[in-house]
């Protein structure tokens, strides 16, 4: 079954990206670098899993199922906003950046 293969690949890709996002959350040395994993990798991982679910339900049931796209778009829109709010809070609390971060002087007081 070709659709099983497509669904499997999308699911596996999504799972790997979600796992990488969490690894980035744990591995990175400071907050600003930790932010990169969850805002990017996890969003793409979710999109992969949701598209897999969309294809699966479209094939197994008679109707075409497109509502999973809604969650993908919602996450795609909200992920940058969450990241922006978090980095704003981090700058406000003057969290330490990793030593050797260039351009720290560009942060202005708010």
């Amino acid at each position: 079954m070709i659709f099983e293969w497509i669904v499997s690949i999308l699911l596996l890709g999504g799972g790997i990206f979600i796992l990488i996002g969490s690894i980035g959350l744990n591995k990175m040395p400071d907050f600003f670098m930790r932010l990169h994993g969850p805002t990017k990798a996890t969003t793409l991982g979710m999109a992969g899993i949701l598209i897999a679910a969309m294809i699966y339900f479209s094939v197994t049931t008679d109707t075409i199922s497109v509502k999973e796209i809604l969650i993908s778009i919602f996450l795609l829109i909200t992920a940058p906003i969450t990241g922006y709010m978090l980095i704003k809070a981090a700058i406000h609390h003057k969290l330490d950046a990793k030593k050797g971060t260039k351009g720290l002087g560009k942060i202005e007081e708010d």
């Binding site: 591995k27 990175m28 704003k88 202005e108």
Partner: protein
């Protein structure tokens, strides 16, 4: 940049389209009843609520907007693979940096879209827009605005700024005509 729509009973055409599509997606059907209900909702909800918000610039080039959206989607996939490789590699080799990008855009809405694109795509997270202002009015005589971004692995600052300005900012200027 144009703030007012041409048709008075459709003040925000793209929000109406969005409502129409989201209603059909939520119900996962395209039957006649849902189409009629979605049309009614898409016309009346913006009519009732458009006074609550500041008028936002309209998309003047829908074709270009669609093209830019597809380009950004493609870039998201590429950038995610790159960031994944960076995450799995050695953390000691990474060169994090804060970079200030001067903006040509002046209105809030295109700047928000640009900041979101920058957050999602090339190994960067947008952090702040300078100068910080609490006022909502969009004066003509505003100071030059900057976007502060955090880069996970900076190779060449000039090249990165140039890439963001050419690849993501120029189409937005074209789409909103500002």
């Amino acid at each position: 940049m144009r703030l007012e729509a041409k048709v008075s009973w459709l003040p925000t055409p793209f929000r109406s389209l969005l409502l129409f599509v989201v209603w059909l997606l939520l119900n996962n059907s395209a039957s006649v009843g849902h189409l009629i209900l979605a049309t009614i909702l898409a016309i009346f909800i913006p009519l009732l609520t458009f006074r609550f918000r500041e008028p936002q610039p309209l998309i003047l080039k829908p074709g270009l907007a669609l093209k830019h959206f597809l380009l950004v989607l493609y870039d998201i996939v590429i950038a995610n693979v790159q960031v994944s490789i960076l995450i799995l590699g050695s953390t000691k080799k990474l060169r994090p940096a804060f970079v200030k990008v001067p903006l040509d855009l002046s209105h809030e809405m295109p700047i928000t879209i640009l900041a979101s694109t920058v957050s999602l795509t090339p190994g960067t997270v947008s952090a702040e827009i300078y100068p910080i202002s609490e006022s909502i009015n969009n004066d003509v005589h505003e100071p030059q605005k900057y976007l502060l971004i955090h880069v996970l692995d900076l190779e060449d600052e000039e090249a990165l700024i140039k890439m963001i300005k050419q690849r993501y900012e120029a189409p937005l200027k074209e789409i909103f005509q500002c």
